[in-house]
């Protein structure tokens, strides 16, 4: 009995002394290998995705990608290229199809979405964090409701947006405001949740200091808490917008369709980059597939850019109280 105790203790001591010796057996190493594989699986898939798409779209990194509308090419140009490349004129428009409509449309949609979702989201978050008494039943209901909204399928937001547009009396819904309503509804929960986190990160000391001077809750919020939370809010909001710019499902429900012109206002008929990619992706034509690949690289670059901005803001301005 006493020997057993001694041995057990000796083992424990030796484990502690040599640190990881027990983690060096075959099973453990295989296990660790599996964990490593899982960790980098995503990166590998992402790399495969980007490389495959970039190769497939490599033929289309020309300026027509940005300057031309979907399947548009001037007639005299077509004649010239037809001779140059030996492709029948009627096929040519596919070779020179571009994303001008989608890129400009997505920018318009994003700005309009931001105008709708950011003020509303910040206002709602401010109320919930700074004013609401979270012990009352209706404020708790708002909380649960927000968690639920964050997980509603995006396509359903499109249906709501279409209904709202109908109520507002729009016959044709595939316009800037229609798409933006769909996307704003979609990212509103994200904006609210991240803004609340940013507000919560502002120390209570700051609020107390302000209130103790005789400031009102709104004065404290507007002049102390919100300004201190801006970097966090900006980061979260940009990430939300970067989600919106890649969404296609809600836009399908609003009825966005190909356009041959630039949007000029909130009621312009509009196209979106992910919608264009969606339509072109299922096309059997090689040239269209190629263009879709190139369009994906453009979309990914836009999203990457927005994420980079968000990270820069976070690293540069975020205070670690």
């Amino acid at each position: 009995m006493s020997t057993a105790t001694t041995t057990a203790r000796a083992v424990t001591t030796s484990t502690i002394a040599t640190g990881k010796s027990k983690d060096r057996n075959l099973a453990s190493l295989i296990f660790l290998g599996v964990l490593w594989f899982s960790l980098f699986f995503g990166v590998v898939v992402l790399l495969a995705l980007i490389i495959d798409t970039a190769i497939e779209g490599s033929g289309r990194f020309d300026h027509y990608l940005f300057t031309d509308y979907e399947k548009s090419i001037a007639h005299e140009q077509a004649q010239k290229f037809s001779e140059l490349r030996g492709i029948p004129v009627e096929d040519l428009s596919n070779h020179f199809t571009g994303f001008r409509g989608g890129i400009l449309g997505s920018l318009w949609l994003m700005i309009t979405t931001a105008l709708l979702a950011i003020p509303l989201g910040i206002a709602a978050a401010t109320y919930l964090e700074e004013f609401a008494d979270s012990s009352t039943w209706y404020n708790r209901m708002i909380e649960v409701n927000l968690q639920n909204l964050a997980a509603v399928p995006s396509i359903i937001y499109g249906m709501l947006a279409a209904a709202i547009m109908g109520l507002m009396g729009f016959q044709f819904k595939g316009i800037v405001i229609g798409g933006a309503i769909a996307l704003a509804l979609l990212i509103l929960p994200v904006v609210i949740i991240t803004t609340r986190e940013a507000l919560r990160a502002v120390p209570q000391d700051i609020r107390q200091g302000s209130l103790a001077l005789g400031a009102t809750v709104w004065q404290t919020t507007r002049r102390q808490t919100l300004p201190s939370a801006i970097p966090g809010i900006a980061t979260g909001t940009i990430l939300g917008l970067s989600r919106a710019i890649g969404e296609a499902a809600p836009l399908i429900m609003v009825g966005l369709a190909a356009v041959q012109w630039d949007p000029t206002g909130f009621t312009s008929k509009v196209e979106a980059l992910p919608m264009q990619i969606f339509r072109m992706a299922s096309s059997p034509q090689e040239a269209v597939q190629e263009a879709a690949s190139a369009g994906i690289i453009v979309l990914l670059a836009m999203i990457l850019g927005m994420n980079a901005i968000a990270i820069i803001i976070r690293n540069k301005f975020q205070r670690s109280w």
Binding site: A8, K22, D23, N25, S28, F31, L32, L35, S38, L39, F40, F41, G42, V43, V45, L46, A48, L49, T53, E56, A123, A124, T126, Y127, L128, F131, A132, I142, V144, N145, Q147, N148, L149, A151, V152, P153, S154, I155, I156, M159, L160, A163, I164, L188, P189, W218, E247, A248, A249, I252, P274, I277, F278, A281, S282, S293, I296, L299, L300, I303
Partner: protein
């Protein structure tokens, strides 16, 4: 010795400052505005229900429920194909494939992040896993269609898959929900008290045994919440299945064939030209209602579980 002075005028004559409430109309108006914004989130939920419910009710007036809850469309139905069970099956099959990818990989990544990675390494590795969540689903869909099906499944694995199939869609869908599962699971692993691990290590177990036999069971409810949330994401995802999962109803159990899912049905039908008010058009909303109810129930389950395990520690 006890002297308790009763309330009365101050002992010394001092100025009497005004303490009565000033009305602050600005403050009141702003608070009302902010509250309206917060209530808007409730209005959105109600709006969703109303927007979907009305056409769905119309649909059930036009089409008998037995046609909707059927395994196959009636022979003479023409344009309208009212059976929803094949769509439900398509969603289930694709989701199963997705979970088979995402649960093991998401859990393993979470285990590494919480049990093995140093604090500094975690700061870099976590965003790496979460990168996957930033890719638009239409991009994933294109990837499934243009790489996974022809190159990976057909050429490399030599599987005889159709052009659109649930396998490719499910695999890619699984990749997409890895971050959801990994990140929530990691939270619940990290919430397991250190004392449990130390107890296990002190008994002579190594880190793998501690992770699998102590930490994982202790965090199981959190993991369950993560899986349910991932499941709800997979069920609601549209673009991947609309592009790569197939556009015809199928009740086959073979994932190498195409299966239309609920979301794919909505997206593909909406892109068509059905006049509002027609049964074909209204069916969109009936399916959407079902989708909303399913995801809503799953979210509530997930929220419940999370709340319970938060209380446990």
């Amino acid at each position: 010795m006890t002297v308790v002075k009763e309330p009365g005028p101050p002992l010394g004559a001092g100025p009497a400052p005004v303490l009565t409430a000033r009305s602050r109309p600005g403050e009141t108006v702003i608070k009302a505005l902010l509250r309206t914004a917060a209530l808007l989130s409730v209005a959105i939920t109600i709006g969703i229900i109303l927007a979907v419910l009305q056409p769905a009710i119309d649909f059930f007036r036009q089409v008998p429920l037995s046609d909707f809850l059927a395994m196959s469309d009636p022979a003479e139905s023409g344009e309208l194909k009212p059976a929803v069970l094949p769509l439900l099956w398509g969603t289930a099959l694709t989701t199963i494939v997705a979970l088979l990818v995402a649960v093991p990989i998401g859990l393993a990544a979470a285990m590494y992040l919480s049990e093995y990675a140093s604090k500094r390494a975690r700061k870099w590795l976590k965003p790496t896993v979460e990168l996957l969540a930033g890719v638009p689903s239409v991009v994933y869909g294109f990837f499934a269609l243009s790489f996974v099906t022809p190159t990976l499944l057909n050429d490399i694995l030599q599987l005889k898959v159709s052009l659109t199939n649930s396998l490719a869609a499910g695999l890619v869908l699984g990749v997409m929900i890895i971050p959801t599962i990994a990140s929530l699971s990691e939270d619940s692993f990290s919430a397991v008290p250190m004392a449990l691990r130390q107890g296990s290590l002190a008994m002579g177990a190594n880190r793998m045994q501690t992770t699998v036999r102590v930490v994982l069971p202790a965090a199981l409810s959190g993991v369950a919440a993560a899986v349910v949330l991932g499941l709800s994401r997979a069920v609601g995802e549209t673009m991947i299945v609309a592009l790569a999962g197939g556009s015809a109803k199928s009740t086959s159990v073979d994932p190498t064939e195409g299966h239309q899912t609920m979301t794919a049905f909505i997206a593909q039908t909406a892109a068509g030209e059905n006049p509002p008010g027609s049964a074909e058009y209204n069916m969109l909303f009936a399916v959407a209602l079902l989708l909303f109810v399913i995801t809503f129930v799953m979210n509530m389950i997930s929220i419940r579980i999370v709340r319970r395990f938060r209380q446990a520690y």
